[in-house]
Amino acid sequence: MEIFAANQHDKYIIDNRHDDFRLAFLKETILFLKDYFGSIFTSVKSLLTGMKLTGYYFVHPKEIVTEEYPNNREKLKMNERFRGEVIMPHDDKNEHRCTGCQSCEIACPNGSIKIVTKMEVQPDGKKKKQLDTWVYHFDMCTLCNMCVHACPSDAIVMGQNFEHSVYDKKQLKKILNKPDSKLMSGVEE
């Protein structure tokens, strides 16, 4: 008898639960569908917001997004401080401002500068140290501007050329002072 009663009781509870379950299931289904379609709606909306932006730039081609490789060499003007390579300016009389003091050689962090000096007899008979060759290993240079910053007589500056590719590495070893060039007068005072 007790077992039977217990079963009756259980059945009653289960039946009751069943109704609850049905209601809850219905509610959950509605919520789920709402969520499901809602998320589809928001995703499509978010995609369309992005598409709207790209579409705007598609119909406004004048608002440039990307940049081209500079092929307009004639008109192209680089920034005056642009560090392309180290150069030594010479004036019309083939004179430079380098005194051969080796400040740049000392300042260079990776040894890409080698300065060779020579002793030259001055008109007044005294011997004086002069620049012979200014050797520049461009293949080692990191364009850090330390040599230009260290130079006391502004003999070297940064050039604006930005295309340096060559077929042979040996061509990157440059001698900056031109042949038979002389020291500009009045630099060493």
Binding site: S39, S46, R81, L143
Partner: protein
């Protein structure tokens, strides 16, 4: 390791190698990943593919020269790395940069941070499958790089800072161009939100992925946006102000999500903070010299010197040991990326292999900084 590999082959797990030439590792990082199906069991980062022994080379360079190599470490915040080196030397020889130099340094540092975060924003879109944001982020980055090139001469590896100040005075057009660029960038932040932040697909890939707990962030030594997204306030600019950051009004962005989405939002908010710092300072650059007088040969007194700065990725430290000579006796760089990388095995454990790309992208690793 060989025995372990044999054992794993028996039990059905397998190993794949991500990198060193994988596009989403942003460099030559090699991750050895133990997998069970798609789930990550263990990650072992394998370093050394781009090791150049920067610290050892620095021992043979003078105190003016040694900062140029730090540009090649974290090349996206090269200016801030140089700043750390110069500050360490200045701390040791007890001089201060001139007020003008300090202001210009902060401005350039924030421009660098902005450019770095924009590159990160471009790359995260590319990593997670959105190609378009890359071009839009580079449009603004180009503006900033042009400004930096006009003043410093180089776009990425500037080497503009020397102990005591900066190499050259700012370009006459600098202030005007920065103001124009800030106006444009501020108006384009909405575009960023439209393209990526609001995108549901993008959000689903980041939300709840790659959780880093505050405890782990501290114990792995994470810093920068990675740690700040886990609720840790660690901005060096606020905690140990340098260069006069304490006189500026800006907020430290801290979020408590700890997942990839939190890290994303921290960086987006940091871009806006950088813009506000630049706008505060751009009209108030003090007049005067841009370079303090230093001796021709800088010699540090005997002792140990340490200087921290906040780069775009976190806490960067320069540790110098001097024996009184004109070159460092020992030089050590504390790079934020190495510590952030060490947290990745912990973050990624248990997540799927597709999520690893999102984790790598939001931690924002720069590999040359890890290897040095």
């Amino acid at each position: 390791m060989l025995i372990e590999e044999n054992h794993i082959a028996e039990s059905g797990e397998f190993i794949i190698n991500m990198g060193p030439q994988h596009p989403s590792t942003h460099g030559v990082l090699h991750l050895k990943i133990w997998l069970d199906g798609e789930t990550i069991l263990k990650i072992e980062p394998n370093l050394g593919y781009i090791h150049r022994s920067v610290e050892k080379i620095c021992e043979n360079l003078s105190y003016r020269q040694f900062s140029f190599l730090t540009s090649r470490m974290d090349y996206l915040s090269s200016h801030i790395n140089n700043e750390a080196c110069a500050l360490a030397v200045e701390k040791a020889i007890q001089i201060e940069a001139t007020p003008r130099a300090k202001a210009v340094r902060i401005l350039l540092a924030e421009l660098t941070r902005l450019a770095s975060h924009q590159l990160w924003w471009a790359a995260i879109g590319l990593d997670l499958g959105a190609v378009t944001p890359f071009f839009y982020a580079f449009r603004e980055r180009e503006l900033l790089n042009d400004i930096i090139e006009q003043t410093c001469g180089a776009r990425l590896t500037q080497n503009f800072i020397i102990p005591g100040g900066i190499m050259q005075d700012i370009h006459p057009d600098f202030q005007k161009r920065v103001k124009e660029a800030m106006q444009q960038i501020k108006s384009k932040f909405d575009e960023y939100d439209q393209l990526l932040t609001g995108n549901v697909i993008f959000q689903q890939r980041l939300k709840g992925v790659g959780y880093l707990s505050p405890e782990n962030a501290i114990s792995y030594g994470c810093s920068g946006p990675t740690a700040r997204a886990s609720g840790i306030s660690c901005d060096v600019r606020k905690k140990v102000p340098y260069e006069g950051y304490d006189q500026l009004q800006f907020n430290e962005i801290v979020r408590h999500e700890g997942d990839c989405w939190g890290r994303y939002l921290v960086r987006i908010a940091e871009m806006r903070e950088s813009v506000s710092i630049i706008e505060q300072l751009i009209d108030n650059i003090p007049d005067g010299d841009f370079q303090a007088k230093t001796k021709a040969v800088i010699k540090l007194p005997k002792g140990e010197f340490y200087q921290r700065v906040e780069t775009a990725r976190g806490d960067f430290g320069v540790y110098l040991v001097s024996d009184g000579g004109n070159t460092p006796y020992r030089c050590k760089f504390r790079s934020p990326n190495l510590s952030n990388l060490s947290a990745i095995p912990e973050i990624a454990q248990g997540s799927k292999i597709g999520d690893l790309v999102a984790i790598m992208a939001t931690v924002d690793l720069v590999i040359p900084d890890i290897d040095r």
